[in-house]
């Protein structure tokens, strides 16, 4: 029983990173119907910038993280404004290919600038410091990611539901032409969406950087976050978060009780199953056609 509880706790802990990436992907998908495969690398760029501020300029953690978050917002806005908006006769497939291109570009720049050797970011909480409750442990850093994911989910949920900007984003997604007719500047809305999404992804990147940094560090969280977003229906913020935790728990239980060798492929088996049997996702009520 103790093992089972530990696996569930560990699953929730690892699921928090997936949740943040899943949230970031859902935000862009909600407004543009484009799964952004550059999400991980956008977070990567902000994380390496924070690392540079901390080690080269010897800044302390809070200002370095704030600047990195600011950079993340600007990067998101810039990519939308300078690249995605320029696409002629854009269709979903074309936009997806563009995001993959952006991903490769950022990966190349980060590898060239910072090198490929593993690094670790200085941070007040040790990457392996943990809380022990009887024999159950939870990493302190993972607890911080868990809290961040839940807070961000709540804030974003309220933002999309109640704020003017959030409603404008929803309107842009549901009917861009109608949104423009009622005076919503849809281009600007899309740009802001990319900025917000980039910042949410950057939180994930910044909080896993104290463990280990290398140019490929965001691949796994991004793919798992995408799996969670698909599971959650691609448009539901709480759905993506809940699915991310479910995915983390399933992975850990699968590794613990069935096969440790195939633990990492469970997420992709889930994507395939969801797309085959419930393409609208577990938590989405509408837009069956989109997933």
């Amino acid at each position: 029983m103790l093992d089972f509880i530990q696996m569930v706790v560990s699953g929730i802990a690892v699921g928090s990173t997936y949740a943040l990436m899943g949230l970031a992907m859902v935000i862009i998908y909600k407004t543009s119907e484009v799964p952004n495969f550059a999400q991980g690398e956008m977070a990567l760029a902000s994380s390496f910038l924070a690392m540079m501020l901390l080690t080269t300029l010897k800044m302390s953690v809070v200002p370095a993280f704030c600047l990195a978050m600011g950079f993340a917002v600007l990067l998101g806005c810039f990519l939308e404004f300078a690249i995605l908006r320029r696409a002629k006769e854009p269709n979903i497939l074309g936009m997806i290919v563009i995001t993959i291109g952006i991903e490769m570009m950022i990966l190349g720049i980060v590898s060239w600038k910072f090198g490929a050797e593993q690094k670790t970011m200085p941070f007040p909480i040790g990457p392996y410091d943990s809380f022990m409750i009887r024999d159950i442990f939870l990493g302190q850093l993972e607890a911080l990611i868990l809290v961040s994911a839940l807070v961000l989910m709540t804030v974003l949920f309220l933002f999309f539901r109640f704020s003017k900007l959030g409603l404008a984003m929803k309107a842009t997604q549901q009917n861009g032409i109608a949104a423009r007719i009622v005076g919503i500047r849809t281009n600007r809305i899309l740009m802001m969406t990319w900025g917000i999404s980039s910042a949410v992804g950057a939180v994930a990147g910044l909080l896993i950087s104290p463990v280990m940094m290398h140019p490929y560090m965001m691949w796994d969280p991004m793919l798992k976050g995408f799996a969670a977003a698909v599971m959650g229906g691609m448009t539901s913020l709480p759905g993506a978060v809940f699915a991310a935790y479910l995915l983390g728990i399933i992975e850990n239980l699968f590794g613990g009780y069935i096969s440790i060798e195939f633990k990492s492929v469970v997420a992709f088996v889930i994507i395939v199953m969801i797309l085959c049997f419930k393409p609208s996702g577990l938590f989405s009520k509408h837009y069956v056609k989109k997933v």
Partner: protein, 396 residues
């Protein structure tokens, strides 16, 4: 008739003047020797990328000091990202496009296995694969000379030390689920068997695994007093860290791939302390005369600012030294067959690495192509410093 003769003369002149010298050895010109290497400069094994860079800087030093019998080394290194498909494509492209005389080092067992048959079929010498796989020498190949101590023996040496010197009885292993990891697993099982023991846990790790909590839980459940880590640098650090978070504190032991303690201390944020590793070269922070000399003459002069003088960098020199020695002994009249004959004659050759001995080709004797079977053990101290635990240990 006159026109026909003119055309014939022109064709003959073109053939004699412009056609390549078909008798020349591939990868050799009057002034150049083309040597190739692959190495992960990106991807999960990028920490080992310094091997190929170390070799490159060593060749620059060789060239600056006169080259080899009037020829300069032209070094062709490419990033395969530790991906066997890329290794195969890159090696074929260079071999068939540029023409490589011999290959040196090359990080990884799976990556090396992807090109081993290709190189051997083409009779291209390959010196010092940067992995201690049994596949290089079992069975031996005429053109493949291994320098890296076998992982199989490294695991045996570590287990022997754990059982006989430290008095450990419950030994587990976390191994990368590829040839590298399985070689370590086999060596561990064989050595334990000779002591009447069995592994208490065998936990496979996939290259793409990032969350290793289930793996460490399994190790913890086994109540192991010693855990062998036959995984990548990143995985090893995550296992040691997660074990610490779980309050699980066995004696961790690692292969030579995790023996760069300065680096391991940095990326583990000090958690690597007390880990025991096998190794086969002097510690880069020591005052070993060759370590000091190569730092001053190679590293300080040729390495870029962001490079670090670590074990993986000097390993790149270690694998290339026997190649250079073989080329020097072959002389100006360089062919692959003559070079292989000279390599077979290397006896008691020692520079940075262990003593190297090869023999004439014998398909039943792995030691005709496995240059060494010695390693020694070191333990990590605080701040990445090193304590040498044993002298050279030879395993048969």
């Amino acid at each position: 008739m006159k026109d026909a003769l003119t055309v014939l003369f022109v064709i003959l002149a073109l053939f004699l003047g412009l056609a390549p010298d078909l008798t020349a050895e591939e990868g050799i010109t009057d002034t150049e020797i083309h040597i190739g290497q692959w190495g992960p400069q990106t991807g999960p094994a990028a920490a080992w990328g310094a091997v190929a860079r170390g070799t490159g800087d060593y060749f620059k030093w060789i060239n600056e000091n006169g080259g080899i019998h009037g020829r300069k080394i032209v070094y062709h290194m490419f990033d395969d990202g530790y991906n066997p498909a890329k290794t195969k494509a890159g090696v074929k492209e260079l071999q068939e496009g540029t023409g490589i005389f011999a290959w040196v080092a090359g990080v990884g067992t799976s990556t090396g296995l992807a090109v081993k048959d290709y190189l051997m079929e083409k009779k291209v010498p390959w010196i010092g694969p940067s992995a201690g796989s049994m596949h290089w020498v079992s069975p031996p190949e005429k053109y493949l000379f291994a320098i890296y101590p076998l992982y199989f023996y490294e695991a045996k040496i570590l287990v022997k030390y754990a059982v006989e010197t430290l008095g450990k009885k419950k030994i587990a292993i976390a191994y990368l689920n590829d040839e590298y990891g399985k070689n370590g697993l086999e060596g561990m099982i064989e050595e334990l068997k000779s002591h009447g023991l069995e592994p208490v846990a065998q936990v496979p790790v996939e290259a793409k695994d990032e969350d290793l909590k289930p793996h460490v839980m399994e190790l913890k459940k086994s109540e192991a007093d010693t855990v062998l880590l036959w995984t990548t640098v990143g995985h090893s650090v995550r296992i040691v860290g997660t074990a610490k978070a779980m309050g699980f504190a066995p004696q961790f032991m690692g292969s030579s791939t995790t023996s760069d303690f300065v680096f391991m201390n940095y990326i583990s944020k000090g958690l690597w302390e007390n880990v025991i590793c096998s190794t086969f070269g002097p510690v880069t922070t020591s005052d070993h005369p060759l370590i000091v000399k190569f730092k001053a003459e190679i590293f300080d002069k040729y390495a870029p600012k962001e490079e670090r003088y670590g074990q993986f960098y000097t390993a790149g020199i270690t694998y290339a030294e026997p190649l250079i020695e073989g080329l020097k002994r072959t002389g100006r009249d360089l062919t692959r067959e003559k070079f292989v004959a000279q390599m077979e004659g290397l006896k008691g050759f020692q520079s940075l690495g262990p003593e190297i001995n090869f023999k004439p080709y014998d398909k039943n004797d792995i030691y005709c192509r496995q240059g060494t079977n010695t390693s020694f053990l070191i333990q990590a101290l605080p701040n990445g410093e090193t304590k040498i635990l044993t002298d050279w240990i030879k395993m048969e």
